[in-house]
């Protein structure tokens, strides 16, 4: 997945990158949740075009880290799992994107 032709970032800057958000899928989950009050599991899987199992594993790590809140309920007797971004997750996302942007500038 890593593009070897591109220059690597400097180690000092690399330390500041949020490891949890280095995964494209996890970053995508947080980006999707950024403009939403909540999103259902099925809709996240559709929007990111990932399998349920893959999404479940990634979203569980975000929940464990406190970036995302999980809410399980039943609607019309059907299980419904919804996710919403926490303040911690929002702050981490903003810091991470700023870091990515500074990496890009440093590598231009």
């Amino acid at each position: 997945m890593r593009a070897s032709a591109s220059p690597s970032v400097s180690p000092a800057t690399d330390r500041d990158v949020d490891e949890l958000l280095l995964s494209k899928i996890r970053l995508g989950i947080v980006a999707e949740l950024l403009t939403a009050e909540w999103i259902a599991f099925s809709e996240l899987a559709r929007a990111l075009d990932v399998s349920n199992g893959n999404l479940g594993a990634h979203v569980a790590r975000l929940v464990d880290a406190g970036y995302v809140d999980e809410e399980k309920s039943f609607l019309n007797r059907r299980p419904l799992t919804r996710y919403r971004l926490t303040t911690r997750g929002r702050d981490a996302f903003v810091a991470h994107v700023e870091q990515l942007q500074s990496l890009l500038k440093a590598n231009v």
Partner: protein
């Protein structure tokens, strides 16, 4: 420890930008609500006008009560169905629902609790006022149809202010039907 190179950083930034630009900023307004409440408020205002003009007896107000009940039942059933089918709610949608609840709620309070202040055609016009706020709020988020329909409602209030009392209700009702219900029809035709 994982690391990231320049190409990956660019790829991630591009993905984030794509997701944010694709994330729907459009308000999920629900065309049916606008049609039902636009038709109800319009017919109620016409009813008041007909009673005021002596065409209908005051007992006709009971018919309006039945229409109001039907509109409320529709709203409850439709919102339940919408909630069951919904898989995402954007922050913009939440803001819209807050504005809708505040506007309609305050109009209701003014109508029911301050009828000595808002009597006569003011009691109907306050609903036009609330409908105009809702439509223009949607219009502020880039919906051209809502902008046009909101202006229609505002114009109907201004015109109603200057026409004879025997016609004011019809003008207000025209604004409600063409503006509020008309917006719902336009949204439905556009594939809401």
């Amino acid at each position: 420890m994982e690391s990231l190179d320049g190409a990956q950083a660019r790829e991630h930034i591009e993905m984030v930008e794509r997701i944010l630009s694709e994330s729907s900023q459009r308000l999920c307004s629900g065309a049916g609500y606008f049609i039902v409440w636009g038709l109800y408020s319009g017919s109620a205002t016409i009813g008041f006008q007909l009673i005021n003009n002596g065409v209908l007896p005051p007992a006709a107000l009971w018919g309006q009560g039945a229409l109001l009940l039907a509109a409320i039942v529709y709203t409850i059933l439709a919102s339940r169905a919408q909630r069951a089918a919904s898989t995402r709610r954007s922050l913009v949608q939440r803001e819209f629902l807050n504005v809708l609840a505040l506007t309609i709620g305050l109009a209701f309070i003014a109508n029911v609790g301050a009828f000595n202040l808002f009597h006569g055609w003011a009691a109907s016009a306050i609903w036009s006022f609330a409908e105009a706020i809702v439509l223009l709020y949607i219009g502020m988020h880039g919906n051209r149809r809502a902008q046009i329909c909101g202006v229609l409602v505002v114009v109907s209030m201004i015109v109603a202010n200057f026409v004879h009392g025997d016609l004011a209700g019809y003008v207000l009702a025209a604004g409600m039907v063409a503006g509020y219900a008309g917006f719902g029809i336009a949204e439905r035709l556009a594939g809401d």
